[in-house]
Symmetry: C2
Subunit: 215 residues, 2 copies
C-alpha cells in the first residue's frame, strides 16, 4: 500500500504531518510526500519547508491519498496538474482523504459531488458549492472518501482510518506510542464551544477575505 501525501505551496503543516504520524505507521505501507515538482515546498506561514520526494508524475498508483488544506486563496482549486492528478489517481485509490480545506481541493476536482463531507468550520459553505453535503462531524467517511474538519482533526482522521485498515490493535498501539491522550488547556476548539464573540470575529475576518477575493 502506497500512501501519497500531497504538498503545495501554502499548505498547513499540521494538516499533513498529523495524519502522517498515524497512517504512516500502517504496516507495509510506503509513504511518499508528493508535489507538482520534487523539492522544497513551503507552508502557509512561510517559515516551514517540507521536501517532496516525488513529483505527481512519479506517483501513479497510490492506495491512499491525503490532501492537506491551507488558506483558501492559496489552494490548488483551478484546473491544472494537481486537479488532473487527483482525478486520475482517485480512479485507483482505496481511500481518498483530506484534512481541513483540502476537501475543497477534492471538491474542485469533482470528487465530492453528492457525498457527505467536511472541512474547516469557516469553509463549510464553500464546500457546498462543490455539490458536497457538508456536515459538522469531525471525521466523515462516505464510501472511500474520508474528510476531516480543521487542521488538528487530521490526527483523528488518520487514527480512525488506520484502525479501519489495520485493525483496532494497530491503531491503539500507535495512539499509545504517540501518547495521543489529548488534554487541551481550553475548551474552544469548535465554533460551538469557543466564546461567541471570538467565533463572530473570525467569521467577519473570513468574510472580509472572501469579499476581497471576489472583487
Amino acid at each position: 500500500m502506497r500512501l501519497a501525501i500531497l504538498l503545495f505551496p501554502g499548505f498547513t503543516a499540521l494538516d499533513a504531518v498529523g495524519p502522517y504520524e498515524m497512517l504512516g505507521q500502517l504496516p507495509g505501507a510506503e509513504t511518499l510526500f508528493v508535489a507538482e515538482r520534487p523539492g522544497p515546498v513551503t507552508n502557509d506561514n512561510g517559515n516551514l519547508t517540507l521536501v517532496a520526494e516525488a513529483s505527481l508524475d512519479d506517483v501513479t498508483d497510490p492506495g491512499i491519498v491525503v490532501v492537506p488544506g491551507g488558506p483558501t486563496a492559496r489552494l490548488p482549486l483551478t484546473p491544472g496538474p494537481v486537479q488532473d492528478w487527483l482525478k486520475t489517481v482517485d480512479a485507483g485509490t482505496t481511500w481518498t482523504t483530506s484534512v481541513c480545506t483540502g476537501s475543497l481541493v477534492l471538491g474542485a476536482a469533482g470528487l465530492l459531488a453528492g457525498r457527505r463531507a467536511t472541512t474547516h468550520w469557516l469553509s463549510l459553505d464553500h464546500l457546498a458549492a462543490y455539490g458536497a453535503q457538508p456536515t459538522g462531524e469531525r471525521v466523515v467517511i462516505d464510501g472511500k472518501y474520508v474528510t476531516a474538519a480543521g487542521v488538528s482533526s487530521g490526527i483523528d482522521m488518520g487514527l480512525t482510518l488506520l484502525g479501519r485498515i489495520a485493525g483496532d490493535r494497530v491503531a491503539q498501539s500507535v495512539q499509545l506510542l504517540t501518547e495521543y491522550d489529548p488534554q487541551p488547556p481550553y475548551d474552544a476548539g469548535s465554533p460551538e464551544k469557543a466564546p461567541a464573540d471570538l467565533v463572530a470575529e473570525w467569521r467577519a475576518r473570513q468574510q472580509e477575505i472572501m469579499n476581497r477575493q471576489a472583487r
Copy 2:
C-alpha cells in the same frame, strides 16, 4: 521574540510540528527551524524531511527553544554542538521546552537537574538518570522549563505556553482556528488507559532495544 525549533536527524516530526502550529502563532514572534547545519533534516521514519533555515551558530538569542524527541538511540545526548548550543542559549531564554524524549536532550545538557519534568512514558526512568524528577503529567512547567509527554502532547504544551505568554484569548483563537477539539476514536493514549497487554508488549520491546544498546 524568536522561537527556535531544533531539528536533528531522527527527530519525530509531530514533536516539532505540533508545538510549531500553536506557538508559531504568537503575535510578533519569528519562528526559525535550526539544526547543526542549515538544510534538509530527515525524521525518525526516514521519509519526511524538513528544512532547517538556520544553523546553531546563526541563532544565539532565542526567547523560546523547542526540542523535539525521537528514538533514544538517535538523540543528541553526548557532548557536541547541540549540547553546547542548548547550554549557551538557555542562559538567555524566557522558555526552554521539549516534547517527548526531547527532555532527555535537555537533561543530558544538564538543564533539568532537580526539576520536575516529563518525557515519553517509555523513557521516564531514563529521564530520572539526569537528576530530573519525572512526573506522569502531560505538560510540566517548572520555572521556565516546560516539558511535554510523548509526541502529540507537544500540541497541548504549545497551546498552554501560548496562553501563558499571549493570554487566554490568543490561545483560544488558535485552538478555534486549528479546530483543536480532539475526538480520538480509541481511548488508548496513555499506559494507564491502553490495554494492559499492549503496554506490556511495548515495555518489553523498549527493554530489548535498551539491552541491545547497552551491549
